[in-house]
Symmetry: C2
Subunit: 139 residues, 2 copies
DNA sequence: CTATAATTGCAACTGATTTGCAATTAATTA
DNA sequence: TAATTAATTGCAAATCAGTTGCAATTATAG
């Protein structure tokens, strides 16, 4: 039982949500991976959880701030929320599909400035840079 | 026949693509709107074009640079490419769904810098700020 | 105007996500 | 700890988004 597992349970309990094996499994899968599409996530459960339940668990996780959606490759993927990892964004390689995390405070304040200028109250933002990683650039 | 309609025809012809009524209609719908989801776009055609053809036309438009996908609200929407409008990104209101275009050169160079630092060759990027517009903030 | 090539519409299909409901499991209470 | 209650899950079936094959239609070129 590590630190983040404890935080998970606290969040669940404080929202009157049960701590189930299915929820723990999904949390652990997310802990060990880059952002996953629903299908990738479902595959990683190795049929231990019904697809429908995976969808429902993710919906719940998002609603209480355990997980979050990120826009990647024209659809969303799921990763743990900023409660469990540093806020960041991704470069995604169009050739090998690798994602590279970027942590950049300057970018963040730039976005805040833009929102302010537009009288806009930011809840969230998505940034994705699509292109070719250093490994895939030769051709 | 306005200027951008002429550009459209030139692009089609230079790619050996026919100028059809269906393609003109879709181009005109896109010209008059904010980014549209495929479903919104299909609705706006008022059944004058089969859904399948709308999908195929958009695929063609994207492949020759007439239109482009943008990530908005966890799925992609379609808008005319930067050939027909200035490169920009969007704020999207979670309450009223309005999109607000932002043109910001500083943001663009910031992204380029980040890509460079990561030895990444950028093809494209997506930026979306989700939150509440000035009209929807009172509550 | 005719011939040729490209495009469209239709029917059917696939894969992703949602919904209703009964069976199971977790949390609470005694 | 056992019984009760409430939440969660799995299964079947529905819906929605996007795709494919093919014949009918329309556009382009000669
Ligand atoms: Mn960020
Ligand atoms: Mn941009
Ligand atoms: Zn790569
Ligand atoms: Zn609004």
């Amino acid at each position: 039982m590590n630190r983040s597992n404890q935080i998970l349970k606290d969040i669940l309990k404080s929202n009157r949500l049960s701590v189930t094996n299915q929820r723990l499994l999904i949390f652990n899968i997310l802990s060990q991976n880059q952002p996953l599409s629903m299908n990738e996530l479902i595959k990683k459960t190795n049929s231990e959880i019904d697809r429908v339940s995976v969808y429902r668990i993710i919906e719940t996780f998002i609603s209480v701030g355990i997980a979050q959606k990120v826009s990647l490759g024209w659809k969303y993927k799921i990763e743990l929320s900023d409660t469990f990892q540093d806020h960041h964004h991704h470069l995604i390689c169009l050739a090998c599909n690798k994602t590279i995390a970027i942590h950049n405070q300057g970018l963040e304040s730039y976005l805040n400035k833009i929102a302010n200028e537009n009288n806009f109250e930011t809840k969230n933002h998505q940034i994705e840079i699509q292109g070719y990683c250093s490994d895939c650039q030769k051709s």
